[in-house]
Amino acid sequence: MAFFADLVVNGLMIGAMYALVALGFVLIYKATSVVNFAQGELVMFGGYVAAALVTLYHVPLVVSVPVLLAAMIALGFGVERGVLRPLVGQNVISVVMVTIGLAQVFQGLAAMVWGAQTINIPLPIRLDPYQIWEVYISPINLVAAVISGMFLVGFAYFFRRSRMGIAMRAVANDQQASMAVGINVRLVFALSWAIAGLAAGIGGVVWGNMLGVDTHLALVGLKVFPAVILGGLDSIPGAVVGGLLIGAIESAAAGYIDPYVGGGTKDFFPYVLMIVALMIRPYGFFGREIIERV
């Protein structure tokens, strides 16, 4: 039982990270109906920028974090303006492929600028785990979960209360109608990319601290898909629930199945879950159900 609890709790902590990355993904999909295959690369980019600032250039953390966030927001704006805007109205394959191309460019650029070796991000967080009952929790996981939680609550507030947040929800719902009532749709598009960049940047720092920063950091982007499918591709609470669920389930599955198959369960079990979800309930737990009989 303690083993199970340990797996699930630590899985949930990782899941909070997935949720944060998935949030950016869902945001972009909702507002601009672009499936962003470069979300993982945004995370990687965030990690690299943080690692470069803190480790390579010895910038104090207090300065680094705002610089990082500003850089990620700028990156989000830049990507939307430079790459995605010319493709508005293109078919699904093209847009998917463009984000894949973007991912490749990021991978190449990051490795070219900062080298291929792993860089660590030292954060002033203690290493030995806390013990609660029989469950071990490492502080960085806890910090990650708390940061993710804060962001998720912040975003929820932003979408419910702020003028811009409501505008973004309107655009997600119906682009033409929101244009007609005077919402600046282009600004909303740009803003959703910027927010996705922001979320990815936070993810990059925490994730990079846990794993070390190299191009493999981008692999987290592939874990986003099971999370968002499970939760619903166009639902923000869905991204959170999906992320947490995938984190917990993959951790538990790895704990119980890995000894029999020699590892690697984490890389494949979420996708099995996703296929099952796609067959039974393609719109996920909270996604908008589009009924279409063909």
Binding site: V105, A111, L233, V272
Partner: protein
């Protein structure tokens, strides 16, 4: 090729249905075939290896284009399907002494079954959701093959096979391998051309253009989607099997997600919904890194760098240029190289009296 249909009257049904109805087109197709057959005379074995790689890639790309370009079902699993074909061929040949010409269709058939299985979600989902589902296929197949010692041959998931041979001829040089690959590629090409203008091909296009309308005019959408998955995977399986016979090794590292992305890039850069475009794309994407190496090596030696010093740089530059090209192509010429080729053709159709 360049069509000038002036003065060509189609007086019989056979004439109307011919693959190349215009004499000039027929001659130029024959000329192209002759050039392909005689290519080994002109090229050394180094260049031949490149031609072989391109031909192999073209088979896979044509297969993917049938699924993505003609039927409109986005697939990110082409690499995994090729992997299935590759391992099937390796197991058949290494353990059961099956000759390669039997191993190829068998590998194709096994892959077609696997592909159709992963095509089942297309019953309920389409577009982006399907792309994500095929992404899952990529990971699941990779994992299963890697973690089943019976399939992957245990250590490093690698199976070595003996040199394939035909009628006692060992296929052991680049030239002989070319004559092993070329007929398969030629059959694949002509079969695809004929498929897409048949009843089945028209059904595929109907499903792609508007699935609801297709259903209304009596096209069984699910059946044709599955069929597209099956045919496309058959091509992928044959391409994967040929890889195995070409390299005499089956290894999962040749067929990762990056491979799937590369094939998708081929058909997008070549032209979605065009068989010839897939070949253009295969040529382009296969040659790109090699040309890049030459250019950068030349540039580097000008400034006195050694190759070893720039190997990393080159790998990253390749990624950047690859990604940039995809983005540029989609932004500027979404219909790909085939469209550019079409523009040239259209220009010469009435040349020199264009008005």
């Amino acid at each position: 090729m360049i069509n000038r249909e002036c003065g060509v009257y189609k007086t019989t049904y056979e004439g109307d249905m011919a693959l190349y109805p215009v004499p000039l087109a027929r001659y130029s197709a024959l000329a192209a075939l002759a050039v392909l057959l005689l290519l080994p005379v002109a090229l050394d074995s180094h260049a031949m290896a490149l031609v072989n790689l391109i031909t192999l890639a073209a088979i896979g790309a044509i297969g993917l284009n049938i699924l993505v370009g003609f039927t409109g079902q986005v697939s990110l699993g082409q690499g995994a399907f090729m992997m299935v074909g590759s391992y099937t061929a390796a197991i058949l040949t290494a353990r059961y002494d099956v000759p390669f010409w039997l191993g190829l269709p068998f590998a194709g058939a096994v892959t077609a079954v696997v592909g159709m299985f992963f095509g089942i979600p297309s019953l309920r989902i389409k577009g982006l959701y399907l792309a994500i589902a095929t992404l899952a296929a990529q990971f699941i197949i990779e994992w299963v093959i890697n973690h089943s010692p019976w399939i992957s041959g245990g250590a490093q998931s690698t199976i070595y096979i003996p040199t394939p041979s035909l009628f006692g001829w060992a296929i052991n040089t680049e030239f002989r391998r070319y004559y092993m690959i070329l007929p398969v590629a030629a059959i694949a090409y002509v079969a695809a051309l004929n498929l897409v203008r048949s009843r089945v091909g028209r059904a595929f296009i109907a499903v792609r253009d508007r699935d609801i309308a297709a259903e209304l005019i009596g096209v069984d959408v699910f059946k044709y989607k599955l069929l597209a998955f099956g045919i496309s995977s058959f091509y992928a399986g044959v391409a994967g099997a040929l890889w195995t016979y070409y390299l005499k090794i089956a290894n999962y590292e040749h067929f990762t997600l990056a491979t799937s992305v590369q094939y998708l890039a081929m058909i997008i850069i070549g032209g979605l919904g065009s068989v010839l475009g897939s070949v253009f794309g295969a040529v382009f994407i296969t040659l790109l890194p090699i040309v890049l190496v030459y250019v950068v090596e030349g540039g580097a030696s000008l400034f006195g760098f050694q190759y070893a010093a720039i190997a990393d740089f080159l790998a990253n530059l390749r990624l950047i240029i690859f990604g940039t090209l995809i983005i540029l192509f989609l932004a500027i010429e979404p219909e790909g190289l085939y469209r550019l080729w079409g523009n040239v053709r259209r220009y010469f159709r009435l040349w020199p009296f264009s008005y």
